[in-house]
């Protein structure tokens, strides 16, 4: 429900350089370490070329709120703020970063970034929007993986080939949910369309794998050799063949070890009834007798099969050493190993860039799932390689990389506007200040619950279904959303646990640009619309939580509840002028503290991280 957006902010995409002759493209080159490099040295180097410098360190309140929101998705408590105000030394700050990285909230926050990429949802979408009773296990697997700081190489291998890697480990099967979480329509597909449908499903896996892990848009070569990217239809179908003999598998998790996978034939028109008991929908391999040869399809047409292909990586990337098995299913494991290899520069650059993006609001490469020839070049190539090497050399663990970035001055610097710096670098490409940006839908909702004191910290399990206005429930008749009259603690869990129904996402989330899970989403929009304003102003959730926040403020500071309310929502001490404005507001007829609460939830200082 929207009007024309007033603003759509997307990362400024620089014009692609097409200097890359095959193999010469920057992203395909090995990672290059510069001796003695550090984040600050590399950032400062570019700034000083333009006679610019970074800003001073941000004030303690601002810095603490920033690092809390970006690492855990929740604001600091008033107590945490006052502790940090008393001692915000670099040592104390480093301890805060370590503490945040160790909190379960870290995995909940960073898993959400990954779920955007995986196009995670709890329903099939398309025609029936069928409930997927076990989808949440994959979401919980991702949360746990980030919390455990699982080596990225391992994380990749589990998601592409977990079933082959460790068939006795339930988590390993669950991980392949990455390949199974896209939209599907098995329950309702016409006989004539079955072949094309199956190709679309495989294409969904292939496009997601290649864009998420490698930052390459190989999916575009489905119909013909690509105009800009150096990929051929042969490359596409060679990669496709890696997945061509996989099938949906149901794996029971009732016993101590995962049960034998029950494979569903890709030829069946009706989807198999997946048992609702404890088990998961995963990726399995067809028995040898059912496997088939993969052929190039002329113009991507399933009725025009051409030359047969064998499993392999794209020709242009063959400089990256691969021990490629051409037989299945080991080809899938070989692909996973090749992607996860320390010698694959794409893998580490892509992930390092994503980490930077989630801390600064934008990547060093503005097209985070496209480091190919048609993508944007990096603003700081040496810095990107530095980060990629840090990631790769810490055994692929992400927390050390995040720690290093958070401890840099570039991250800790203030976000304030400076006229002269702005004049030389209006888009702040060079990081002369920390880039403020609007918070994501989930962080806004979670921050509301955190301020009101009602956030339920229960982790994991099947998705929650908070109240959505009953009049819009009939907009999706299949697998209907329940009518919730009154929300209770069971609904007030973190937004990463909201049941994602593809046909009817929660309006508040959708309006604040949560992705629709049709396709992998590497960069969310930051749109500003009147309907967003209407939702934040008038939605029952916001108004009720404002009431709870007021109760909490009264309880915690009976003599200055307005001030406390501002501390709870803005996660900083309000200025005298701001307090005076709030007091004047409260003197108006009809106006109570609850109105102030709603106002604060709608205010820019609340929805922005700066």
């Amino acid at each position: 429900m929207n009007l024309l957006p007033l603003v759509m902010r997307a990362t400024v995409a620089l014009l692609p350089t097409s200097s890359a002759d095959e193999g010469g493209h920057w992203a395909f080159q090995p990672l290059r370490a510069e001796s003695g490099s550090s984040i600050d040295r590399l950032v400062t180097r570019d700034l000083s070329t333009h006679r610019l410098s970074t800003a001073p360190r941000a004030a303690p309140d601002r810095l603490l709120r920033r690092v809390h929101l970006l690492l855990t998705g929740l604001p600091p408590s008033p107590a945490e703020l006052s502790t940090f105000r008393a001692d915000s030394s670099p040592e104390r700050y480093a301890a805060v970063v370590d503490d945040l990285l160790a909190r379960p909230g870290f995995g909940e926050r960073w898993a959400r970034h990954w779920l955007d990429l995986a196009r995670y949802a709890d329903t099939s979408g398309l025609h029936q929007d069928t409930h997927r009773p076990h989808a949440w296990r994959y979401r919980d697997y991702v949360i746990a993986s980030f919390n455990q700081d699982k080596p990225y190489g391992r994380f990749i291998r589990e998601q592409i080939a977990g079933d082959l890697l460790a068939p006795r480990d339930a988590n390993s099967w669950i991980a392949t949910g990455f390949c199974r979480t896209g939209p599907s329509n098995e329950a309702n597909i016409g006989a004539a369309e079955l072949k094309a449908y199956r190709l679309d499903q495989l294409d969904g896996i292939l496009s997601t794998v290649s864009s998420v892990f490698l930052g390459q848009t190989i999916g575009c070569a489905r119909c013909h050799d690509h105009k800009t990217d150096p990929f051929t239809a042969g490359d596409y179908y060679s990669l496709l063949s890696v997945f061509n003999n996989t099938a949906d598998a149901f794996v029971s998790l009732e016993g101590e070890a995962p049960g034998a996978p029950k494979l569903f034939s890709p030829k069946a028109r009706k989807a198999p009834k997946i048992p609702t008991g404890s088990g998961i929908r995963a990726l399995g391999t067809l028995p040898e007798s059912q496997r088939k040869v993969t052929r190039i399809l002329e113009r991507g047409d399933v009725n025009s099969p051409g030359e047969a292909v064998v499993a392999g990586v794209p020709v242009v990337l063959r400089g990256i050493p691969a021990k490629f098995s051409r037989t299945e299913p080991s080809a899938r494991l070989a692909l996973a190993d090749w992607i996860a290899s320390t010698e694959n520069p794409l893998t580490w650059r892509v992930m390092a860039n994503r980490v930077w993006q989630h801390l600064f609001g934008r990547g060093l490469v503005g097209t985070p799932s496209n480091l190919g020839v048609s993508g944007s070049p990096p603003t700081h190539p040496a810095l990107l390689d530095h980060l990629a090497i840090v990631l790769r050399d810490s055994d692929g663990r992400i927390k050390p990389l995040i720690r290093e970035i958070c401890l840099s001055h570039a991250f800790q610097q203030d976000s304030a506007y400076r006229k002269s710096a702005h004049a030389s670098d209006p888009a702040n490409h060079l990081y002369w200040r920390f880039p403020k940006h609007r918070l994501e839908a989930e962080v806004i909702r979670d921050s509301i619950l955190s301020s009101s004191g009602k956030l339920n910290r229960k982790m994991g399990g099947s998705g929650i279904k908070p109240r959505i206005p009953s009049e819009i429930i009939t907009q999706s008749m299949r697998n209907q959303w329940p009518r919730v009259k009154t929300e209770t603690a069971t609904h007030w869990r973190r937004s990463v646990y909201i049941y994602l129904k593809r046909q009817l996402p929660m309006p508040l989330m959708e309006l604040l640009d949560a992705p629709d899970s049709s396709e992998s989403c590497a960069l969310r929009f930051e749109s500003t619309t009147p309907t967003q304003a209407l939702a934040l102003l008038n939605d029952a959730f916001v108004n009720e939580q404002a009431g709870h926040a007021v109760e909490r403020a009264r309880r915690e500071k009976p003599d200055a509840p307005a001030q406390r309310l501002m501390e709870l929502t803005w996660a900083r001490a309000p200025s005298a002028a701001e307090l005076a404005k709030a007091r004047a507001f409260l003197e108006k007829p009809e106006i109570t503290l609850v109105d102030l609460g709603v106002v604060l939830f709608n205010s820019s200082p609340f929805v922005y991280v700066d």
């Binding site: 429900m1 929207n2 025609h127 702005h422 999706s476 709030a582």
Partner: protein
């Protein structure tokens, strides 16, 4: 008020230029309109489930001759219910007559609409790519069979901007029997920002969710809240003149307030004279619901809404829409009766107000139906040949264009694919379908993918 903000407000909401003016990045759409527009808005009367062409606008006497006999056109793999659909011809139970100066053939089930035969441009050679509701709806709405692409209303608003400050540019009016399959995906913004999504309106009361003040909050209280929000947001924005998104947030609350004040007026039909309500059939149970939506559609385009999509048919089951698998007569008797008078009234009302020249009315479903028999008295899905019609500005009135074979099974002459229809609709709105692109995943996407040709023969 600061000058930059005023400039921003002046520029908001009037198309391509406005977004560029604020130097806020939008994916490259290119300048529009590309050529003078023939119409400003589209009313899409979506007959969900798939109306039967051979029982509405494409009479096939051959079906009588072949009744009960296997027709040569039949192929088993074309059907959706492969085990129930028979290869034998199933003649239309309805009689057809020619109407108007044009001699347009229309079935007896459209006694009201047939009076407007000379306004219709009937396309008999439609074809689409899926014989399944979900993908076929997705294609009719977005050009693609898979979900995830923006729907036509999103493209129109992206390309042309909105002409109203108080209403969304893309409104969806649902059947009271609920949304069709795919739900919200049918009016999805796909990979465009959420702002371009279709907004379902409730037919009565407050039309949009969250438009009304929260329970117990008075208008003066709400005004005070808005003032306080503005003060805090201005403080925050003033400290950072480089961040224009902050100014946009301030403006978004002003627009929200204006919507709160003005939008409810559109669903309040009390100002409509009795004869209008009567014409749309608001006083009879059969026509009241679709009639109200047709009247709302007129009120919406009158107020500058770019695209209104009305659904006839909900998703409680095949017999709640045009999906006549079992009892064709019962189904089409009901669906035609519910929509005939309201559609006729809409055409007449638009004409009398001088709006028909600037509005394009589109009628049709996601596909048509088989001329063969399913079960004892039904028809299966048919995307290979079906009928849609257009009426309004820029369209040649009183013509039929294209043909299906002698059975109405397959389009054979002057075929019009869904992509061609989309290209033609965009053309009438002043947009070159090959030039209107949205950059996504480093590729320029179009409503028409890499296909589509404007059907010049039907343009006046």
């Amino acid at each position: 008020m600061w000058t930059s903000r005023r400039r921003f407000l002046q520029s908001a909401g009037v198309g391509f230029g406005s977004l560029a003016l604020t130097d806020l990045l939008v994916a490259d759409g290119g300048p529009a309109p590309h050529h003078p527009a023939r119409v400003d808005s589209v009313i899409f009367l979506f007959m969900y489930g798939g109306p039967s062409q051979v029982d509405t606008f494409d009479p096939k006497p051959a079906l009588n001759e072949w009744a009960g006999k296997t027709i040569p056109a039949y192929r088993k793999e074309d059907s959706f219910f492969t085990n129930e659909t028979k290869p034998t011809a199933f003649p239309s139970p309805y009689s057809f007559q020619q109407y108007g100066q044009s001699g347009m053939w229309i079935s007896e089930k459209y006694p009201h609409l047939s009076k407007h035969a000379d306004k219709l441009c009937v396309i008999r050679g439609m074809h689409a790519d899926s014989n399944n509701h979900g993908p076929a709806l997705t294609q009719m709405n977005s050009g693609f069979i898979l979900q995830g692409h923006p729907s036509m209303g999103s493209w129109l608003n992206y390309g042309l901007g909105t002409a109203t400050r108080n209403l969304p540019g893309y409104v969806v009016l649902l059947d009271k029997r609920g949304a069709p399959v795919n739900g919200n995906l049918n009016w999805s913004n796909g990979f465009m920002p959420a702002a371009y999504q279709g907004v379902p309106f409730r037919p009565t009361g407050v039309p949009i969710v969250n438009l009304a003040n929260p329970d117990g909050v008075s208008d003066s209280q709400q005004r005070a809240r808005l003032e306080m929000i503005r003060e805090f947001n201005e403080d925050y924005a003033r400290a950072d003149p480089a961040e224009s998104a902050l100014e946009a947030r301030i403006a978004s609350y002003e627009l929200a307030a204006r919507m709160q004040t003005n939008a409810p007026e559109v669903t309040d039909l009390s100002s409509e004279p009795a004869f209008i309500k009567q014409a749309y059939g608001l006083e009879q149970d059969t026509t009241a619901d679709f009639g109200r939506n047709c009247l709302l559609a007129r009120r919406l385009v009158e107020r500058g809404v770019r695209m209104v999509q009305l659904y006839s048919g909900g998703n409680r089951g095949p017999e709640e829409a045009w999906d006549a698998h079992k009892k064709l007569v019962e189904n089409h008797d009901r669906q035609c009766a519910q929509t005939d008078q309201p559609i006729a009234a809409l055409l007449q009302d638009l004409e009398q107000r001088g709006l028909l020249d600037r509005t394009l009315v589109v009628w049709g479903g996601e596909f048509g139906r088989m001329p063969t028999q399913q079960g004892s008295a039904g028809r299966d899905h048919n995307p290979f040949g079906f009928t849609m019609w257009l009426a309004g500005g820029g369209v040649r009135p009183g013509i039929t264009y294209g043909e299906t074979d002698e059975f109405g099974y397959r389009a054979v002459k002057d075929k019009v694919h869904v992509h061609d229809l989309h290209a033609t609709i965009l053309h009438l709105l002043g947009i070159d379908h090959e030039q209107l692109t949205f950059r996504h995943k480093s590729r320029n996407f179009r409503l028409t993918d890499v296909y589509g040709e404007v059907v010049k023969e039907i343009i006046s």
